[in-house]
Amino acid sequence: MTQAKARTLSLSKRGMSFETFMWLFTRLTALGMYAFILVGVIGALVMGARNQMTFIEVLRWALVTNPGHVAYTNVADIAPWESVFWRLVASGMFLTASSHGMHGVIVILDDYLGGISQRKWIRILNLAAYFIIAPIGLYVIWTA
């Protein structure tokens, strides 16, 4: 009987196409977004959200940890909520979510576009939109 040995293709043999890389990227960024939300929820509870915010307000904060999301709650001291750490978390969430979403748009459009040049242009337009939106989003996060 043949000796059963593990069959594994090395990266050089199987390659890593753009599609495969982005398939992996989409899954990892989805997990990354869950992680950012978890950090936001835990951080809010540590900073006293349990007695000062409603569940909906906590979720809104956790999705993007922007101090503007706390301004109209019962939180007395907003200073801890607008620290550099939370702005970094918000920036991470924003960049992760927007790149995840941008690739989602490309995937859906690729379903309907068959031509190579059409697909290329859609990628260029999406990337251009991303590089316009990303700085605006970061500006809002860091100046709010």
């Binding site: 009987m1 043949t2 059963a4 593990a6 069959r7 594994t8 293709l9 090395s10 990266l11 043999k13 199987r14 390659g15 196409s17 599609e19 495969t20 982005m22 398939w23 992996l24 995937v107 690729d110 379903d111 309907y112 576009l113 068959g114 697909r119």
Partner: protein
């Protein structure tokens, strides 16, 4: 019992577009939809065109849309779909006549998967078979069951949107060889499937799995191919 069957009709020599015709036939709830179609063709309207061959769910000729879902007409009983039946050709492939579609694009995609054993290594010392264990054989058992009926591919929304997508059936064909311990062509097949029209077009709608008359877990098989692309593991 009385069975009312509404059938999509299209004759390229007469019609500019398809239409439906309704027939009422006497039958039994244990009749198959194929029996009802045969009844219509044999006794009412001989011009009705549909594919059939073995009539026992093995050849995969008579895939069609029955009451909106892809089935093999020879494996679908009247009692399971009711006495008011609508029969249409599968979606995503050009209709040639009535329930007959052009299968060429489907088989072209199948051929792109190199659906044959690739092994350029020298034969074993005894010059006989390339043996494999029952476990190694079981690894791709599911995908050997495919009968190429196209029920899966033509139920896939991604394929409806873009027929350049290789489709579930082609990926199942690739799966059958990628995970075969005797095969050495996995690298080539994974390269083909990692193109934009490969597994990236699968959004796990599960229509293919529901449509498969052989109960192949197609979406799972596609997922395994995607994982093989990322990890390189073929066991």
């Amino acid at each position: 019992m009385e069975i009312t069957i509404k059938i999509f009709r299209y004759n390229p020599e007469k019609d500019t577009r398809g239409h439906y015709e309704t027939y009422v036939v006497e039958g039994d709830e244990n009749d198959r939809v194929l029996d009802v179609l045969e009844h219509v063709k044999g006794k009412t309207d001989g011009s009705l065109a549909f594919r059939r061959s073995c009539a026992h769910g093995v050849c995969g000729s008579d895939a069609m849309r029955i009451n909106g879902r892809n089935h093999l007409a020879c494996k679908t009983l009247v009692r399971d779909v009711g006495s008011n039946i609508t029969v249409e050709p599968v979606l995503g492939l050009k209709v040639k006549k009535d329930l007959i579609v052009d299968m060429d694009p489907f088989f072209d995609n199948y051929k792109k998967m190199l659906p044959y054993l690739i092994n350029d290594s020298p034969l074993p010392e005894d010059g006989k078979e390339r043996l494999q264990s029952p476990e190694q054989r079981a690894r791709f058992d599911e995908s050997t069951k495919c009968i190429l009926c196209a029920a899966c591919t033509t139920s896939c929304p991604s394929y409806w949107a873009n027929d350049q997508y290789y489709g579930p059936a082609a990926i199942v064909a690739a799966h059958r060889f990628i995970f075969d311990s005797r095969d050495e062509g996995a690298s080539e097949r994974l390269h083909i499937l990692s193109e934009t029209d490969g597994t990236a077009r699968c959004h796990t709608a599960y229509n293919c799995t529901e449509a498969c008359p052989r109960d192949i877990k197609i979406t799972k098989a596609i997922g395994e191919v995607k994982m093989a692309m990322v990890t390189g593991k073929l066991d």
